[in-house]
Symmetry: C2
Subunit: 161 residues, 2 copies
């Protein structure tokens, strides 16, 4: 359980925690790697969601995974970029939550993932939650919490209650 007062400052009511799908660069399962590489070069994220033709979340793809797919011990085979589909090398084990997510779970997952994808029951991609948004909340807590609230060590009596 997250403390209610901490939660109220961690999450800014005026701001969307979820960056909605229409603001996120994505690639399609049937796209070739050269297209994905272009998206990843122009986008500011180092990995992007992969959606199928029905906008369902299917995986994540990153530049390192593309490079690994076209490399062997001896050389990098750039000519393979136009021959391999994104779905053949995407990471299908992506972190996700549903729209009615618990903030608690998202906080845990963000320790190990740059962003968490939000999907609905049909797996339709709804958006992402980024580390940056949570870090804005951490800044608010660091600066405002003890200014707004009176914080005292719990007495033994308090702890027993």
């Amino acid at each position: 359980m997250i403390g209610e007062k901490i939660k109220s400052i961690l999450i800014d009511k005026d701001n969307q925690l979820v960056k909605s799908a229409d603001q996120v660069a994505v690639v399609g399962t049937k796209n070739r790697l050269n297209h994905a590489l272009l998206i990843l070069t122009t986008d500011k994220y180092s990995l992007v969601p992969v959606l199928d033709e029905k906008s369902r979340m299917q995986g994540l793809i990153s530049m390192p995974s593309i490079m690994q797919a076209i490399m062997d011990i001896e050389d990098v085979h750039f000519e393979k970029l136009g021959k391999i589909n994104v779905e053949d090398i995407m990471d299908k084990d992506f972190p996700f939550v549903y729209e009615d997510f618990e903030l608690e779970n998202v906080l845990h997952m963000l320790v190990n993932h740059a962003f968490i994808t939000v999907i609905d029951e049909e797996r339709i991609f709804k958006g992402i939650i980024t580390r940056s948004e949570i870090l804005k909340g951490t800044n608010r807590i660091a600066h405002e919490f003890e200014r707004i609230y009176d914080v005292r060590e719990k007495t033994t009596t308090d702890s027993i209650k």
Copy 2:
């Protein structure tokens, strides 16, 4: 100013906030882009520090910046990878703090940067502070703060004091 009680839980005394230089993948200013690309493919970070021959921090390099350097409107020129030096395309405007940094500054900078580099007065690279470490602290605050401390709305009298 960061609240003292918040700070004590945000920073875990048993863990190093700074990941030390010997644990961080780096590239040299005189390395060619193909070497940097290899490091970025095998490393888990999407950008890495660039050091000169005296281990001084000089910039950051990322996969997108390498791709941009070898692309023009018509094509990607992979043959350029072995001809361009890292120092020619690295981002020299990198976020850094000195070893006696204020946590407050680091928190602010991490909203917009994946990690902050730590350097000494001679610009020697000492390590990085990652979003992941701060997010571990955010998790501790979310779960433990109101369990450990008694938190109350400040009364008017408190605010005037």
